[in-house]
Amino acid sequence: MRKVLLLAMAMALFFPLNALASYPEKPITIIVPSKAGGSTDTSARLFIKAAKKYWPKAEFVVKDVSGSGGLKGFEEIARAKPDGYTIGMVFTTQIVAHIVSKRAHYTLDSFHIIGNAMQDPLIVAVPENSPIKNLKDFIKSAKAKSMTAAVNGIGSDDFVAAKKFEQQTGVKFNLLPTKGSTEQKAMILGSHIDASFMNLSQLQAQHKAGKARIIAILADKRSEILPDVKTAAEQGYPVSMTATRGFVAPAGISKDIAAKLDDLLQKVNKDPGFIADTDKGVLFRLPMTGPEYLAYLKKLQAETQKFYDQNPW
């Protein structure tokens, strides 16, 4: 009898099949590597709202770990116990930029990539009183004089977008690193700079209100909320850049749990309630499966590495 019991205990320890069948049986923590109230945080909360429909018994907890351009949060996800009860969000280009600049204590292999949910395409914006109306004017005037263009910090998505432009057109911008979109917005609206590379969601309202001008969107197709703004490719400069916001889990998580999480994200990505909520909050969706997102991240890392090697920061 005792032997049977021991065997049963050993079985329970080594093959936690029962636990798996009922996953999740305790709250799942989602680490958000940015401030509460920001767009990544909002995305996570909208995800939870929709996920509850498919996993009615599951509890989710958001933990905001902001700081160091997301690095603190990314590291915490990579360090977490791979039991499926800690997952997290990542955003580009910061997730790969930290690897490239050798500051991260993780690599892409430290994560199981669940997939992508959101994006925020990059735009080129100029002040409302600027004579520049399109990308052609923009590049022409950048060739004529040194133009001050604001980006959000070195190594950010804005920075990489600006570098892509420089590489393709041969111009050189007077790049102005800022503390973030708030500063960029204030400088564009106050005409303190010639142009700014920033995210669509941050300036679309100002563009609609006629207080700033978006001259190009760096995406494959035009945005539904600003159908009048041409893509860069349409204007003859095939530069595309977007900030993605996806979900990951620490590497080493069991295959079954990983499959469940992957499946959940795909379901949420297609959920009508989720779609309606993101539309209302002016968040843009970019559904990608795990393998698709991993391929995307690897390509982005190689690109970012190129810019880093040319001009390290």
Partner: protein
């Protein structure tokens, strides 16, 4: 539209939301380490379940309440809950020691109310015009604004000797502010590979260490905060009239706070120190400053509460948050599909105006709360230190950790607490140090960005009209105390030679 807004506002649910928001704001602001930013951010998921308006009213109430709440521990225990309350602590704590803590709290409530109401009125009346003004401020002006705040260091010194020490303190603060990522090149400076230091030394843990923890260590030798002789005055709940002459400081603070609050950036700290500084310059009793001046409290509190309405001007009209609390509030607006801009005042006008009007009510609530509760709050200062110290220390350590969920921050605050004791004993100014630490990064970024925009030429600091105006104010604020200190030291030398 405003009538409709009022209609939406005067429902039991709305009023209850404002009341709950404001009271919890006062409590949050009063706890060392808990900030208004944190509280507003925590409320965002709660607002999912509520009507958008109810959620906004809650958040607005917290914002107003917390800014005032920060002054209570600053006055009673010299443990400012927010950096904006440091100037309040400098004046309020000596008053508590003299047994006038209740009066100091009343002054703070009245000044906070006036500052808050004035700035909300401005927000209601001329928000769009003011937002345009805010936009004319660029990097050069932000650099000068930080300088203007740093000029406040001079006002923390009375004589030549203290002036040198205050300047050294400020310099130490600026040096510590160097730690972290270079804002322009992205290089790491003195971070020793610690990820927690990449963003620099977080100023809230530093503030908690320097003021809360060091103060608790200081108190270990005493029975309670209030001087023995003054105990009797604290016990008496008599109705003291507000001292004369503070109304000038209050109006000065309200005006300065509103103007500085409108400019995006961490405004409340700068606003409180600039108002304090200007009030000292224009006071008839400048010798009282630093020893418990009611005018100082009035100016600082009116200044930091003036920022509340001011910071919402660019937030609501342009979508540019005036400070971190407003940024969290903006997140709350966006999630309900309320995109800042002209539409907010037309399509969603009822909700927006109801929100603005609710700030008036929030101000009235904390005024009443402050006035009625002042004598009772004041008794906190009579709590025996053997009970007070453990409680405050617990909250301090908790607060230092909770700010960024970081254990490094706890060590930072302990380190700053120990260093603060030594600095204080040797006569160095803690206020100057924290000012340097907070304003250093703002000054550095502004300076570097201005040079980039100016393509490397320093003329950008002198050719823009706003910049020139700021130069004039800085020089005016610096000249008078310099002359005073010079005269004083000359007189002392004369006396010495005679003696």
């Amino acid at each position: 539209m405003i009538l409709q807004a009022l209609h939406a506002l005067f429902t039991p649910v709305s009023l209850f939301a404002i009341f709950i928001g404001t009271t919890s704001g006062v409590i949050v602001g009063g706890m060392p380490g808990l900030t208004a930013t944190m509280a507003v951010a925590l409320l965002i998921p709660v607002t999912f379940a509520l009507e958008p308006l109810t959620g906004l009213l809650l958040m607005g109430g917290v914002y107003c309440g917390a800014m005032y709440g920060g002054s209570i521990p600053a006055i009673l225990l010299r443990t400012p809950g927010t950096p904006a309350a440091v100037a309040t602590a400098i004046e309020g704590y000596p008053m508590t020691q003299q047994g006038k803590g209740g009066l100091a709290l009343k002054i703070s409530a009245v000044a906070s109310f006036t500052g808050g109401t004035f700035s909300t009125l401005i927000l209601l009346m001329i928000a769009p015009a003011l937002a345009t003004f805010a936009l004319t401020f660029g990097p050069p002006e932000y650099f000068l604004l930080a300088l203007l705040g740093l000029a406040g260091i001079v006002s923390m010194a009375d004589d030549e000797n203290r002036l040198v020490k205050a300047l050294i303190s400020g310099f130490i603060g600026l040096v510590l502010a160097v730690v972290g990522t270079d804002p322009i090149s992205g290089m790491l400076r003195y971070t020793m590979g610690v990820t927690d230091l990449f963003d620099g030394i977080a100023f809230m843990p530093a503030l908690i260490g320097m003021f809360s923890l060091s103060q608790m260590l200081e108190l270990t030798g005493t029975k309670q905060v209030v001087d023995e002789a003054a105990l009797a005055t604290t016990k008496k709940f008599k109705r003291e009239p507000l001292p004369k002459g503070i109304s000038k400081s209050i109006w000065l603070g309200s005006l300065i706070g509103t103007v500085i609050g409108i400019l995006p950036g961490e405004g409340a700290t700068i606003a409180a120190f600039v108002s304090y500084n200007v009030a000292k310059r224009r006071s008839k009793n400048p010798q009282l400053f630093g020893k418990g001046s009611p005018e100082g409290i009035a100016a600082a509190e009116a200044g930091n509460n003036g920022c509340v309405g001011g910071s919402l001007v660019p937030t609501l009209t342009l979508g540019i948050p005036g400070n971190s609390v407003a940024a969290a509030l903006l997140g709350g607006l966006l999630i309900h599909g309320l995109v800042p801009g002209p539409e907010l005042f037309t399509t969603y006008g009822v909700m927006t105006y109801a929100f603005i009007l609710s700030l008036f009510i929030a101000n009235i609530i904390f005024l009443l709360l402050g006035l009625f509760m002042a004598p009772y709050f004041a008794r906190i200062s009579m709590t025996p230190t053997n009970m007070l110290i453990p409680v405050v220390c617990l909250f301090s350590v908790l607060g230092a950790y909770a700010m960024n969920n970081s254990i490094t921050d706890v060590f930072i605050s302990l380190l700053f607490g120990l260093a603060a004791i030594i600095l204080q004993k040797t006569g160095f100014s803690l206020g100057a140090l924290i000012l340097g630490l907070i304003l250093g990064p703002i000054a550095e970024t502004g300076f570097a960005q201005a040079l980039i925009i100016g393509h490397g030429s320093y003329s950008i600091f002198f050719t823009r009209p706003q910049a020139l105006a700021l130069w004039v104010i800085i020089i005016l604020l610096l000249i008078t105390p310099m002359i005073q200190i010079y005269k004083q030291s000359k007189q002392e030398k004369k006396e010495q030679t005679i003696g």
